[in-house]
């Protein structure tokens, strides 16, 4: 297997991690919004920020994979 293949697998692994993370954030945000509809706006904005944090980690993986591949 070439370094490109390994890099692609690495990017895929990073995407799995981010998928789990963003899924948990989205699920919990939905639950919280259902419990407290009046906090809808605040929960949504903080969920977006947290999703951006998680996504950044996946994108670090993609960037490293892109540089290697």
């Amino acid at each position: 297997m070439t370094i490109t293949g390994i890099a692609a697998i690495g990017a895929g692994l990073a995407a799995i991690g981010a998928g789990v993370g963003i899924g948990k954030i989205g699920g919990s945000a939905m639950e919280a919004m259902a419990r407290q509809p009046e906090m809808h706006g605040k929960i949504q904005s903080s969920a977006l920020i947290l999703a951006a944090f998680v996504e950044a980690v996946a994108l670090f993986g993609v960037v490293v994979a892109f540089l290697q591949g």
């Binding site: 996504e55 950044a56 994108l59």
Partner: protein, 375 residues
């Protein structure tokens, strides 16, 4: 022609004032029309050489010395931008059209007794007396060196365009407020007011605090609108080189600004939390100090990489979906790939705003941390 333009403006006004759904559909129509031009450009590339998606994607994402618009009958239609070089012999300028769209180091340009070639969007100066470029076994040039390149590349050009547009929008807004007697915004100011209020009430006030947010508002508004408008420019398919916020030098500069402002507005409390964390035992204080110092630098670095990677990844995904057509060499795959790239483009339109928001809110958060009082 004139009547057509008048009709078009009338139609546009009608469409945009009616309902949001129609506006969205109209924008999607525009996007699909522009994608047609986008796709046909790649088809002409295919004739010359076997299609290489990676090279095509990198060509679109990277900075360049000319503004390539489209190919017409096999020859590229482009806007030539000036090349400005600082060499040992002083400043040298010439037009990038002298390279005749060559990016393989074949065309040698003579200027002031120096010879230059362009290789993979890098300008090399040949050593004195050489007439063509030579390579070693790893395809690195052996008889040339890189001068300091101060050229107005397409990223710089697009940055100036966005600066001019922002200046126009905000000067018009300011003039509008000055003119208006009752303080009610009209025209473009009516559109900008909610956005500015949003940055103030959703980003500035909650993150920095009621008393100190005013000092940071000019910076927050500037980066918010600057990043947003450049993200939007990056999505216009015909300006395929306008990938400014997907350029790591650009995001690096913005992150450095945030870092400098955070560092200089840091109060006693902020520095105490970095060097001598209150409320924990002494061995823990010593252990936390290097972590906090690294954290000081990691924050702007993560800002830099987040914006760069998000925008670049968006472009790469759209281009990769489009190049599927040329990889499979089949028309049957075209509807699928156009539909998917349209879907991703619509997501990217949301991402343009979200990334500008994230950059601004995190900058505000860091300023808030730096100016927080002891509690």
């Amino acid at each position: 022609m004139c009547t057509f333009a008048a009709k078009f403006i009338k139609l546009f006004n009608k469409v945009t004032t009616l309902n949001p759904l129609r506006t969205v559909l109209f924008s999607i129509l525009f996007l699909t029309v522009s994608f047609l031009g986008f796709a046909s450009e790649e088809k002409t590339n295919q004739k010359d050489a076997p299609f290489d998606p990676k090279e095509m994607i990198l060509h679109h994402v990277k900075d360049a010395h000319e503004f390539h618009l489209w190919d017409w009958k096999g020859s590229p239609v482009s806007l030539s931008l000036p090349i400005i070089l600082w060499t040992d012999g002083g400043l040298i300028t010439f037009s990038s059209s002298k390279f005749h769209h060559d990016d393989q180091g074949q065309t040698v340009v003579e200027s002031n007794g120096n010879s230059f070639v362009k290789l993979h969007e890098k300008i090399y100066q040949l050593e004195a007396g050489e007439t063509s470029i030579n390579y070693d076994s790893e395809h690195h040039p052996t008889n040339a060196h890189k001068p300091i390149d101060l050229s107005i590349t397409r990223n710089v050009f697009m940055m100036w365009v966005s600066v001019a547009l922002l200046l126009f929008i905000f000067l018009t807004t300011a003039r509008n407020y000055k003119k208006s007697k009752d303080g009610v915004p009209k025209g473009i100011a009516g559109f900008m007011e909610p956005l500015i209020i949003f940055v103030r009430d959703e980003i500035g006030k909650p993150m920095i605090g009621e008393h100190k947010y005013k000092k940071y508002m000019p910076y927050l508004l500037t980066i918010f609108f600057f990043i947003w408008i450049n993200n939007i420019f990056g999505l216009i398919p015909i300006l395929n080189g306008a990938n400014l916020s997907g350029n790591i030098a650009f995001t690096f500069t913005l992150a450095v600004f945030t870092f400098i402002i955070t560092t200089f507005s840091g109060n006693k409390n902020y520095w105490k939390h970095i060097f001598w964390m209150p409320g924990v035992p002494v061995p823990m204080k010593i252990f936390l100090m290097p972590i906090e110092i690294i954290g000081m630098f990691v924050k702007p670095i993560s800002l830099m990489i987040r914006l760069f990677a998000n925008i670049t990844a968006g472009h790469v995904i759209i281009l990769a979906l489009m190049s599927l057509i040329f990889v499979f060499k089949s028309v049957a795959i075209a509807p699928v790939s156009v539909a998917f790239s349209l879907f991703i483009t619509v997501i990217e339109i949301i991402v343009t705003a979200i990334q500008a928001y994230i950059f601004t809110i995190l900058s505000a958060l860091y300023f808030g941390m730096a100016t927080e009082e002891e509690h």
